[in-house]
Amino acid sequence: MIKYITKRLLLMIPMLLGISLLTLLIMHLSPGDPTSLRYGLNPEVSGSARAQLHELYNLDKPFIVQYGSWLKRIVTLDFGRSFLDNRPVIEKIRERLPATLLLQVSALVLIFSIAIPVGVMSAVKQNSLFDKITTFLVFIGFATPTFWLALILMRVFAFNLEWFPVSGMSPWYAEFMTPFERVRDVLWHLVLPLTTLAFTGLASLSRYVRYSMLEVIRQDYIRTARAKGLSENKVIFKHALKNALLPVVTILGMTLPALIGGSFIFETIFAWPGMGRLGYMSIMQYDYPTVMGVGIISVFLTLIGILISDILYAAIDPRIRFE
């Protein structure tokens, strides 16, 4: 197992090199052309922002120097200072990270705890009414623009019914609350963004669980288990479920980029004070160091998620680590 983890960690090194190269190339894409439509509105800001960026990240030096210094910045998480308020970028991200993690982790828990039972149920009762309804909902889920869902939830549950707050995470008067009231208040604010975010992963995960379960049910050993007279419940929950859920662990790694990507949109709509909103704001205000910082940190979060899911998978399924 330790050997597997070491191997997996070593594989991160070429990934890191590639990620730094790709992001460096993206920075070079900026044409410095202040006549394009949007920059035309404010050439001063964008022009000087670009010049500052070039200076900060040594983009005028020879390529190998640029790459070296950029790599060092990535490894030490030092992205320089924000163009807006001159504070270190990593400090700004650190402030925002808890809110994002709270949202992401609760979304993951919610997605897995709904999608697994739903997927298993619709596989076990294939072609039943339940299966048909969930398949229909999955199709709707894949096609729904999630930012639109966010607007609809906001309009219905925040404006019309006034059940939940419109946006934000904690109001200004939160400091006058008792700790218990504070937690309750944050949870209250969490409901709508969480529902929207969870929705993005729900359709694909429940579909995947259903598919994986259907595969397993067709296996010989399940037929054997039935043939020796085990009850249907025992066959499903003791024999089939365990093997069907194995590959689902790896989906954790694939769901993360979509979730983190989603946070850029939902945190903006719901004014959730997380990293995604910081990223969006810095794009709109040409705060390039913050843009780069947020980008690298979200890639790191994805990498950590993939690493955790790979290690988990190897821990439950010995076939993987002896390969």
Partner: protein, 280 residues
Amino acid sequence: MKNKRDFRKKYAGVGLAVILIMFLVAVFANFIAPYDPEEINLEPDARLQAPSMKHLLGTDDLGRDVFSRMVYGARISLSVGFVAVFLSLVIGVTVGAIAGYFGGWVDTLLMRIVEIVMCFPRIFLILMLIAFLGPNIIIVMAVIGLTGWTGLARLVRAEFLSLKERDYVQAARALGAGDRRIIFKHILPNALSPVYVSAVLGVGGAILIESSLSFLGLGVQIPTPSWGNILTSGMHYIESAWWLMLFPGLAILITVLSYNLVGETLRDILDPRLKGFNQK
């Protein structure tokens, strides 16, 4: 079993019809739209009008006819979808074919690149590129296309890996066919099933991304109408003008749903092995 297939085919038929109608709407937008989509009317009784016989889907905050804007928006959304997907297909098929056919270090290198691109949350990679390049419709098409090829490259590579070992390919090689002939004449035509499926599903995905970008103000720029940027004003008037919010969203939902239905059915018909889940 037969019944179930017919059942799905029926839905795919509806999807196909919707795709066709949307396509016609996009092509003949100038004949269908009753008003100029960019004509502003700031009279108090022209702004933010609820749907009526005069304005089927109401008017927006600048007094523009929402129905006309949505008709022209179809044109934008579909062209972004098609161009972006075409770009993804070209890159994905090329990378997948080269990696699968030649194998060795070329394969390792290309697949590592795919893994690296996949680590980036796609929407943020897109936002980052737009932050540096500036938003306009060409950039939006290019950026959606440039970030959407990784899954397809993997599928095409897998097809090539298995097809190149087949007897008929060996036979062609024994007869002296060159790499280029084997790739284009013998393997590629048999490896196209996943390409068709991803193309159809990809259009739906690209339309979703374009609308999110335009909604955030980083996609198609006003005054050019797109379903996404109509929703932006829908958000500003979320309390009062429900029609600004409801109709563009429904248009996106129905269009994307149709592409997904047709794509999934196509997948069942072309290649039952690929049946499974659809990555968002």
